[in-house]
Amino acid sequence: MPPQSPIKAPPGVPPAQFADAIRQWQGVVGADWVFTSTGDLDAYRDSYSPLYGEATERTASAVVAPDSVEQVQGVMRIAHALKIPMYPISTGKNLTYGGSAPAYSGSVILDLKRMNRILEVSERNAFALVEPGVSYFDLYRYIREHKLKLWIDCPDPGWGSLVGNSLDHGAGYTNAPFRDHFESRCGMEVVLADGELLRTGMGALPKSETWQQFRYGMGPMVDGLFSQSNFGVVTKMGFWLMPEPECALVLTAEAQRHDDGPAFLDALAELTYADLISAQLHVESPVMGFPMGPELAKLRSDRSERRVPALDDYARRNGLPCWTAPFALYGHEDVVRAKLAHIRARIGQIPGAHVREVACLKFPLNDEQLAAAPEKSRLGIPNLSYFASRFAPGAPLFEGHIDFSPIVPLDGKTLREAQDLFDHVCQDHGIAPLGGRVLLYHLRAACLIYAIPVGRDATANARAREGFARLMDVAAERGWGEYRIHPAFMDRGMGYYNFNDHALLKFHERLKDAVDPHGILSAGRYGIWPRHLRGQSS
């Protein structure tokens, strides 16, 4: 065995008290599932941390990995009694938004990956009840193996947790409301900081058979308190699933000229509000996409009046539209083709714009059709191809990235202004971002996602952090705030949501003090600090 490094206690916790906690946790989960060695803890570092290798990088002091809700309760009771800071993770794959590392350095990671049970899948009522360690791949494979006529909705990388992604307000590709992963939840089970167990909605009613069918139950609906927060450990969660459609039309709307952008976005917004397009769509251009060769990179950074004609010329020479919007329609083929006719008529009002049919797929797919299926995420097929889009010949080899993800009004002119504004900030800070696409992840608002490269170079990371902070500043000046953020920027991000002297954050803090009086759960998450750490720099 390699030599064990000395155990480092969390800040403010006497070493003997921490050693006592470790011993007691070993009794609850077994010695094999409490990690304290440097090697084991290193595996919990955020591979995409913008603070990587610096003194301020957020790291863990230990890891406890329970296998059941009873073990979670046991672990939390010990942590509560001994006042040990804890940081639950589900599958630990929230890369770009913190990965498996804590928001408060020295916290003990409560790793829920071993809790990977798919507890119930109902085909008739189209729902699933899962534990936090269940990944999108897991649920997809279960449904396929059991030949159930259900779809999941997955985010870009499919190895994440349904529970974790939902709690961080993640999103996917298929129809509303399934693609908004917190909107599609129904029923939660939560362990509080002192180990008490509660269920929300109809789960509070013994013998209820509608826990995953009726979200409200009785009284205040508290589900939202457990998302982007630190008020409890979610140990079960229900999700509504989309019944398998007969057909999916995979489509791409295209507009030819760069100046068509605002009208194109407005048309797509109108079609979305009218529910003619129910699925996620994103609007991108060759210069807002993924890694670019030198010509495109130069075009993107050109601020002169030559830029627009040059972009139009580039598109013409390469046989590309200036704007593309991939999306899909799901349902009976006659119905979706009727919808497509309306969509084509509306898009066609923009000279030269049209909708191209990429594929018409009938379900279920056999293994060969599955392998060949285009745009798998749009078909509820989890994958990791998103990461492959980070590479291009001639572009620098990509390491990590953190995402700048502001919510911007769904208005074509405003969205184009936002893209230009953010591009200019990136240029001013020497950042070559990926993306800048307009995404309709959530319902009724647009999200622009700029992937800001980070890696192992501390100087480059410092520059990226400075640019990231400036992006947040200029967004907030326009009333645009991030929907989700890396822990290194949570205080700043929440700081912009400051109506009436931070009344919302103050309310969060009052709740925190009431439900977690020792302040042991996920200190600092989304700017919510326990009383004894409030006012300190994160």
Partner: protein
Amino acid sequence: MLAVTAALLGAGPSGLRAAEPEISWTWEPVPAGGDPGKVEFARACAVCHGEGPDRPGTTSLQIKYGGKLPALLEQRTDLKPDLIRVYVRNGFAMMPRFRKTELSDAQVDAIARYLSRAR
């Protein structure tokens, strides 16, 4: 419609509660038996390092090596077990680190043996 409700209290993703972590980061069928390392590679690695379009690991190594070495790890003959263990636990470039709750030491060892087997 036929009501199919699968209540699997106590079961993992495959319906069985395994002593080892059960990672299946793939939409593809995985081998039911045979070399444990090959099985684990199919379950945990092939989604990035397998053959086919949009595999980030393979795409990255194609660019990195420019054809001087195979981009597919299963075609490499120069890999050593210790190096594979280091890459799994420490990550590299965009590849993140993998924890023991995802892949046990025994599973990583099996993958390392498979990729470094004599051929």
